[in-house]
């Protein structure tokens, strides 16, 4: 396995009784990459993260973490993975400082190292104002930040964040985005979210999970696919489509609505290719009159809806 890959998941399957939550998930995350994990409820995002955190064993498939096969009994491997679960820390009788010292003690940090680590994460997660406040008295947002702080305590190279912005107010969401961006590059981060805008703003790459499978995987801009609308006079839509099919980078040509006496199609191209020059050249070569040649960019929301089968908004 390449050293550049921090997490590798191949053919991952997980069943809960008769329910197949994961049906062959394939995923690779490079070192220092921030992967946004999108998917509707029940898609399997949390299950994947729980497998990576060593809390669940796969029914089938391979998982490698930093080049080693997943071994939940290997404390050294677990020390290299920080995990923020869906349920934020809730020890009712501990305050923030006590909880983080407890987490550090369990992780085997000596007193001096623990004190330094706790102060570092308190500052990083902006918990200074509530360091002496009982966990039970904290808002959901603050508890979420305490959860993030414990995940960062050992400064692990891999961070798994399950819905990290859940319960945060807009300012806190912004702060968390900044923090994730700061950590990216030096840390491999996988975070799940329902918020497409958040993933778009923070992630280097997006994987969309649906019904236990990865149905889309790529850079946010690449996933946000582009279409080109072509409107001409001089031929019908069928002839126009046939003429444009096969042009370099063109994946698909579909008829589109057009004013009377004109024909229009939508040209779907690969992300890296802009088909407009080739389209314009072909229209000119055919002697048709070109009325429109415009790029329509699908946002991540549209892509998400398309690949998960949800109706368009």
């Amino acid at each position: 396995m390449s050293d550049a890959v921090a997490l590798r998941v191949a053919g991952l399957e997980r069943a809960f009784g008769s329910v197949r939550a994961l049906r062959g998930v394939d995923l690779q995350v490079a070192r220092g990459e921030v992967l946004g994990f999108l998917g509707p409820n029940g898609a399997g995002k949390t299950t994947v993260l729980r497998v990576l955190a060593g809390l669940l064993l796969p029914t089938a498939g391979q998982v490698e973490i930093l080049g080693e096969p997943l071994n939940p009994d290997d404390a050294r491997q677990r020390a290299r993975v920080g995990y923020l679960p869906e349920a934020a820390p809730a020890h009712p009788d501990l305050d923030v400082l006590e909880f983080l010292h407890f987490a550090g003690g369990v992780a085997g940090l000596g007193r001096r190292a623990r004190r330094a680590a706790v102060e570092r994460v308190i500052e990083r997660c902006a918990l200074g104002d509530v360091r002496r406040r009982a966990l039970r008295a904290l808002s959901k947002g603050y508890r979420q930040r305490v959860g993030l702080a414990q995940a960062l305590l050992r400064d692990p190279p891999v961070l798994l964040l399950d819905e990290p912005t859940s319960g945060l107010d807009p300012n806190q969401v912004l702060g968390l985005r900044t923090l994730v961006r700061e950590l990216g590059g030096t840390h491999t981060i996988v975070f799940s979210s329902h918020h497409l805008s958040e993933v778009h703003a923070v992630a280097d790459r997006v994987a969309i999970l649906h019904a236990g499978r990865v149905v889309a995987d790529g850079r946010p801009d690449a996933l946000a696919r582009a279409r080109v609308r072509v409107e001409i006079e001089g031929a019908d839509a069928t002839r126009l489509a046939r003429a444009l099919e096969g042009l370099p980078g063109v994946r698909d040509v579909r008829p589109a609505r057009a004013p009377a006496a004109r024909a229009a199609v939508e040209v779907h191209a690969d992300a890296a290719d802009d088909p407009r020059p080739a389209v314009a050249a072909r229209v000119q070569a055919e002697g048709w009159r070109l009325f429109a040649l415009e790029t329509i960019r699908d946002d991540l929301d549209t892509v998400f809806r398309a690949v998960t089968g949800a109706p368009p908004s």
Partner: protein, 237 residues
């Protein structure tokens, strides 16, 4: 180190709640009431702690599951078990830490009964050797009960269910020896051998028999092992 951190947290967490003080106080009060009230201590006129050591094993079947019921069940109920298991902490260290924490609380409960031998010693000449032996034996017995309680707590996310199951296990081990005449050999012999009530007879006299201690420790180790398996089995659920 990790297990000790869990144990220390367990003791502190329990002492932050009134239930721990209630249990410790109830244990001391019940045993004292038996020794000086229900038992004809003053009629017998002997400075002995045997009534205490005869009664304490039974009260311990009520105390130990109560001290252990919260250990893993509450972590499961609040979802904190996932957080703990995501840390670089082996399941064995987690479960042993929970057990040691509960044992620390049990030691506090035993310490709370020290006024009983001190009172007896004030009333007459008390031989402290058998008292010390009896306390060590009682701690070993309670250790076995606590391990059964931790096992019950590992099986459920409800403290109430954990208590009921834990009490059933403890009481079962306490009384199972009495069933030996009803069972065919060699089963009857085995059952008699693990009955805690009979096993504690020597300790109640202040005599520490390594065979008795081996049974208590053996049951505790087996129960802790099963609790570790129960927590690890969550990876398959």
């Amino acid at each position: 180190m990790s297990a000790l951190a869990v144990a220390a947290r367990e003791v502190r967490g329990a002492l932050n709640q009134p239930l721990a003080f209630l249990l410790v106080g109830a244990f001391a009060a019940l045993t004292a009431a038996y020794v000086f009230g229900l038992h004809p201590f003053f009629v017998e006129g002997r400075a002995t702690l045997r009534p205490f050591f005869e009664f304490a094993p039974f009260v311990s079947t009520l105390l130990a599951p109560a001290l252990a019921m919260r250990s893993l069940a509450e972590e499961q109920r609040t979802g904190q078990l996932d957080l703990l298991r995501s840390w670089p902490l082996s399941t064995a260290a987690l479960v042993v830490g929970k057990f040691v924490g509960a044992l620390g609380l049990a030691a506090l409960a035993l310490a709370a009964t020290l006024p009983i031998p001190l009172t007896v010693a004030a009333l007459g000449p008390l031989d402290w050797g058998p008292v010390l032996g009896g306390y060590v034996g009682l701690l070993a017995l309670i250790g076995a009960y606590l391990a059964l309680g931790v096992l019950a707590s590992a099986l459920t996310s409800s403290q109430v269910v954990a208590y009921v199951v834990g009490f059933g296990l403890c009481f079962g081990f306490y009384l199972v020896g009495r069933a030996h005449p009803l069972l065919p050999a060699p089963l009857g012999g085995w059952v008699a051998a693990i009955g805690f009530e009979a096993r504690f007879t020597s300790a109640a006299r202040g005599v520490l028999d390594t065979r008795d201690l081996t049974v208590f420790v053996g049951v505790a180790v087996a129960a802790i092992g099963l609790a570790i398996e129960a927590v690890d089995a969550r990876r398959w659920r």
